[in-house]
């Protein structure tokens, strides 16, 4: 029908050059349905050439507008415009649908080829995250030796002679005669930092510490601690609470809250244990927090003036706070791990899951 009409139209140019609006409307429908019936990409392309290419039928029809009766010209043009647009759209849509070449059909169910991917260890990943948060708050990372002298581990920390942590049997010594042992706290780094320069200090010291402790699901002889220290003029207990609150909010979310409970540490006064809103139940009470709604995550306090005096810092002018967290515990809580030993087992089947 279309072919026929065109031929007639072209041939009998002069005899009846006035195409009627109704005819054009019908023609439009026929063209669109013909394109729509295309069953392959190639056929769509053929139709495109037939109707939309420079020498195609639709441009041809446009050129005939001048032959249309004046009163119909406008409508004729509108119909042609819409035909051109719709045909163009339809062809593009069909092409997109056919663009997968059927000749190269592949088995889509075969597994994809993956590029090798490296993994950070979950413990270090947690440490990185913690470092990142504290860096945002203006803390820098300080490091120090793992083999330390008793001075930096106990004496400089105001650890009383009788303190249980001082028991030889609780620490791992490498040379008792020269009082060298594996550090039991990263606090030694804080002391070293304070000895080296003048306040202000705002540091975190993440690192390995060692205890002569029987290993079980919650203890290992070596673990990773994170301690922080901030000494300046006018550093206060309230700021300590604010800082830890900010940290835990970054780590566990905006709704997190922090609770302080009085405690005793030889190196801080006042001291506190830090509880954080249980992030599993949001504080309602669950098995993770033993129904308390709180999870104990660390200890903190205002640096004992004696410690500052020991390193020659004016304890009247400067005040400061310190805190300590166990990175394993934070890691275990984050991933729901039950046994700290898994962290150090390095079973690759375990590590590849992170």
């Amino acid at each position: 029908m279309i072919e026929e009409y065109c031929q007639i139209d072209m041939k009998e140019d002069k005899t009846d050059n006035l195409m009627k609006i109704d005819e054009l409307k019908q023609l439009k429908n026929e063209i669109l349905s013909e394109i729509g019936n295309s069953s392959t990409y190639e056929i769509v392309e053929e139709k495109r050439i037939k109707y939309l290419s420079k020498k195609g039928m639709i441009p041809e029809l446009f050129s005939k507008i001048k032959e249309v009766q004046n009163q119909d010209k406008k409508e004729f043009g509108q119909i042609l415009n819409s035909l051109r647009e719709e045909a163009y759209e339809l062809i593009n849509r069909l092409k997109a649908g056919f663009s997968n070449n059927e000749d190269n059909k592949i088995d889509l169910t075969l597994p994809g080829r993956k590029l090798p991917v490296g993994k950070y260890h979950p413990l270090y990943k947690m440490r990185d995250e913690i470092k990142q948060i504290f860096r945002q708050m203006g803390f820098s990372v300080a490091i120090g030796p793992e083999i330390e002298t008793e001075h930096y581990i106990f004496d400089a920390l105001n650890m009383p002679e009788w303190h249980p942590a001082r028991k030889v049997t609780d620490s791992l010594y490498v040379d008792k005669d020269s009082q060298l042992l594996l550090r039991t706290e990263t606090s030694s780094v804080q002391i070293r930092t304070m000895e080296k320069s003048d306040p202000p200090y705002r540091i975190i010291c993440p690192g390995r510490v060692y205890r002569n402790e029987k290993e079980n699901s919650t203890h290992t002889a070596m673990f990773m601690q994170l301690e922080g220290l901030y000494v300046d003029e006018n550093v206060s207990f309230a700021e300590l609470k604010g800082t830890l609150l900010a940290f835990f909010k970054h780590l566990y979310g905006q709704e997190t809250n922090v609770r302080f409970r009085p405690h005793y540490f030889p190196f801080t006064e006042p001291s506190a244990e830090v509880d954080v809103t249980c992030f599993k139940c949001g504080g309602d009470g669950c098995s993770l927090c033993k129904n308390s709604g709180w999870i104990e995550l660390g200890g903190c306090g205002m640096v004992h003036p004696k410690l500052l005096e020991n390193v020659g810092v004016d304890s009247e002018k400067y005040t400061g706070f310190a805190f300590g967290l166990g990175i394993e515990r934070l890691t275990m809580l984050k991933y729901g791990l039950n046994d700290i030993r898994d962290i150090y087992e390095n079973d690759l089947r375990f590590l590849e899951q992170f």
Partner: protein
């Protein structure tokens, strides 16, 4: 420390019940006394009543059973009883039908054909003691039908408090009560008692000598004569049981009771076992022997403080009494000791003997040296009340140098500065006063605080500030943050480098591991550095510190291979430790280890095992990422733990900075690994020296042309030699040389091998014509032929 709410009520009129127990626990935690558990004890004896045995007759079919008629108030019940001591006329506890026992419930039952409607109970069945000798016989004053709850029933909440190491004063009801009174706003009631003394003077009966007044600043004693040792009354037993102590006899129970009440340990000796009627406080002799109350034989050293008579030691001072002088049923005269010992001396004894007692726990934290009179009098009065006897006149008190109270000044301005917020002056005065830290206003800013001797933990202003904020409430501390940025860069460069290395290695697809620093010596041995021994290792698997990261990596590789994990590509950055010239050193180091399958078989490619070129690729890429292009790889200075023919050392400016390659079979054998191991280790500090610069080159706008060239050469010829010659003749248009193929096989001479090099040509100024490229290419070919003995294929 266990606090029974019921007992506590003796001193503070405050009820703790199910409705407020948890809230109290919470408030106590905020005050610094966290409870590990709040135990609810409920003995309401529902369906238990007092009964009167009206008649007894033998069971027709069972010799040991008695059929009883028991009045329980409204009715008479027939009850079959198995106890031998049941008799007519006894007043007894009866469990009625429906009464609940831990593992059964009383029902109407037939026993050997005879109906039984309840059970007459023994003491153990009521949970009153362990006694199961027969039924319990009650005082006749109780009327049948009286609920048993009225006799024995009690409800209690027991707080298992965690008292921090500095607060010995809270390890007693009165000390804890001081805090609890503050918490509840009630008044602490100190028990009142009257002690009657006989006319016999204590000094006429005993002498006391302290030889070491540093170790024992005070020793006080009272002597009580003609007492009767027997079981304690119920009220006392109950109290002790509630806090987890086993009742023994009235005298021992009283010493325990007073210890719990006052927090001050005391000891009772059988006075008749004290030879020479003299107490001598002295240090032990080295090797001296002593047997404790609980029959523990000890060998002592001269750090240990002893309480002795003229012949023998009778107690480990402040820790435990001796078996030779304890109070038994035969005791008639007791000597009550209330002493104050130096904290460190008690700790020596505890450390040496490993005995932790209720007594040592308090002495080593520091008890009040100045409450001896109250403690010893309280105990003596109770002994007179419960065991009879007469207290001799006076306290034998050796206290040569009185320990005085401290006076400390507290500045309100300092308090506010340190806390970051202001607490009202009147509140501070009020709260300090309420825990007996007596304050006096010195000036607008300064309070003078008198610290009683039961608070040895308070020695300077900061300790008072802690008290102020503790009493104010840790839950009311505001959150403050100040935002300020340091102008000074404080980051440790090594730490930054470590993170940089980790990032590079992870980006190369490697898995980071975290291994312990402690390893078995045998794993350290292959490596060059001298390992450091741990002096008291937990076990032999952790007796040394690792001297190479490879000890850890190889160990982990082995464990994973055993688990059939077949593709190992791991790294770690961490400390290594070693001894050098008698000094202990520790350095950050990092290592990479590859073993097993590199690319697992996928559906269109074959499985590849890791080989030397994989580790080399990692090393080359590592330096490439560091923008370092002046390192040289040479097959020399290879440590013994590597396989020399598949290893290279990395040199920079003539210094060796690392070695990588295949581990020798001797090494892998030590780790019990059968597969090939390829690895690389380098010190972080050496890595920090590598400061390559990232320079961005201008890019050419003209097309690049590739040309391949296959070269046939002798087997022992190295590809680098060829590449260098190609470079030499390639001119500036040759921008890249890649080795794209390596062939050895049937099509060529067995002594030869073939490499295919792909050369890329490009000019910065123009499009290279075919003619121009052919010219360079021919120059290269001719150069190769001229300089080397090779054939072009």
């Amino acid at each position: 420390m266990k606090i029974s709410a019921k007992w506590l009520k003796d001193y503070i009129d405050f009820d703790i019940d199910a409705s407020n127990a948890n809230e109290i626990a919470h408030r106590l935690a905020i005050l610094g006394f966290e409870s590990e558990a709040v135990e609810y004890v409920n003995k309401n004896y529902e369906n238990f009543v007092v009964g009167k045995v009206l008649e007894c007759s033998k069971h027709p079919d069972a010799d040991r059973l008695t059929v009883c008629k028991v009045n329980v108030g409204d009715e008479d019940l027939q009850i079959v009883c198995g106890a031998p001591n049941v008799k007519e006329g006894q007043t007894v506890p009866v469990a009625l039908v429906g009464a609940q026992f831990p593992d059964f419930k009383i029902k109407k039952a037939k026993m050997r054909g005879i109906e039984s409607n309840g059970m007459i109970c023994a003491e153990d069945e009521l949970g009153l003691s362990d006694n199961h000798d027969g039924i319990m016989v009650l005082d006749d004053k109780y009327n049948p039908g009286t609920p048993l709850k009225d006799l024995f029933g009690f409800e209690d909440h027991v707080f298992d408090l965690e008292v921090t190491a500095n607060r010995a004063d809270a390890l007693g009801y009165l000390g804890f009560g001081r805090e609890f009174a503050f918490l509840t706003g009630k008044k602490l009631q100190i028990p009142e008692f009257e002690l009657k003394e006989s006319n016999v003077k204590i000094e006429d009966n005993i002498n006391i000598e302290i030889q070491d007044t540093d170790a024992c600043p005070r020793y006080s004693a009272r002597l009580i004569k003609d007492i009767t040792v027997k079981d304690s009354p119920k009220w006392l037993q109950e109290k002790l049981i509630a806090v987890g102590l086993r009742p023994i006899n009235n005298v021992v129970d009283i010493t325990n009771f007073v210890l719990m009440e006052t927090g001050h340990p005391l000891h009772a000796f059988d006075f008749n076992d004290i030879a020479g009627k003299k107490i001598i406080v002295r240090k032990a002799k080295n090797g001296e022997e002593f047997t404790t109350l609980d029959d523990n034989k000890l060998k002592l050293n001269d750090d240990i403080l002893l309480i002795c008579d003229v012949e023998k030691p009778v107690a480990l001072a402040g820790v435990m009494g001796g078996l030779n002088s304890g109070v038994t049923e035969k005791t008639t005269d007791v000597l009550l000791e209330v002493a104050y010992f130096n904290l460190a001396d008690i700790r020596h004894t505890v450390k040496h003997t490993n005995i932790l007692s209720d007594s040592s726990k308090r002495f080593e934290r520091g008890v009040d040296p100045n409450n001896a009179e109250f403690v010893v009098d309280r105990a003596a009065a109770l002994i007179n009340e419960l065991a009879g006897g007469e207290t001799t006149k006076g306290i034998f008190d050796v206290y040569p140098k009185k320990i005085k109270e401290l006076t400390i000044e507290l500045r309100l301005s300092r308090t506010e500065k340190l806390l970051g917020f202001k607490i009202d002056k009147e509140d501070i005065i009020h709260s300090l006063n309420s825990i007996d830290l007596r304050t006096e206003v010195k000036s607008e800013d300064v309070l003078s605080v008198q610290v009683p001797t039961f608070r040895p933990d308070i020695t300077r202003e900061i300790d008072l500030i802690e008290e102020v904020v503790r009493l104010y409430g840790y839950d009311k501390i505001p959150d403050q943050t100040k935002s300020n940025v340091d102008l000074k860069i404080n980051e440790d460069p090594e730490e930054l480098e470590i993170d940089n290395i980790r990032e590079q290695l992870v980006n190369m697809g490697l898995i980071e591991i975290s291994a312990k620093s402690m390893v078995d010596l045998k794993y350290c041995l292959p490596f060059e550095k001298k390992p450091i021994r741990i002096q008291h290792p937990l076990n032999e698997e952790m007796n040394h510190l690792r001297n190479s990261i490879l000890t850890s990596l190889a160990n982990i590789a082995d464990k994973n291979i055993r688990r059939k994990y077949d593709s190992i590509n791991i790294f770690e950055v961490g400390k290594i430790f070693y001894e050098i010239n008698g000094k202990l050193e520790e350095k950050n180091s990092f290592a990479v280890l590859l073993s097993g399958i590199n690319r697992k078989q996928q559906w269109n490619e074959s499985e590849l095992e890791y080989d030397f070129y994989d580790i080399k690729g990692i090393v080359e890429r590592f330096f490439e990422l560091k923008k370092v292009n002046d390192v040289k790889y040479e097959n020399k200075d290879i440590p013994d733990y590597f396989n020399r023919s598949q290893s290279l050392s990395v040199f920079r400016n003539g210094n060796k900075i690392a070695t990588f390659g295949k581990l020798s079979t001797d090494t892998t054998r030590i780790f019990e690994i059968k597969s090939d191991i390829f690895c690389f280790e380098m010190l972080v500090e050496d890595c920090m020296e590598l400061k390559g610069e990232c320079t961005i080159k201008e890019l050419s706008k003209y097309p690049k042309v590739k040309k391949d060239l296959s070269v046939l050469m002798n087997d022992d010829e190295e590809s680098l030699t060829i590449a260098n010659v190609i470079k030499k003749y390639g001119g500036k248009e040759l921008i890249n040389i890649l080795t794209t193929d390596h062939y050895k096989g049937e099509q060529i001479d067995p002594d030869k091998k073939s490499y295919t090099f792909r050369m890329e040509f490009q000019s910065m100024d123009k499009t290279l014509t075919d003619k121009e490229i052919d010219k360079i290419f021919n120059k290269i070919i001719n150069g190769l032929k001229k300089d080397l003995n090779v054939e072009i294929r």
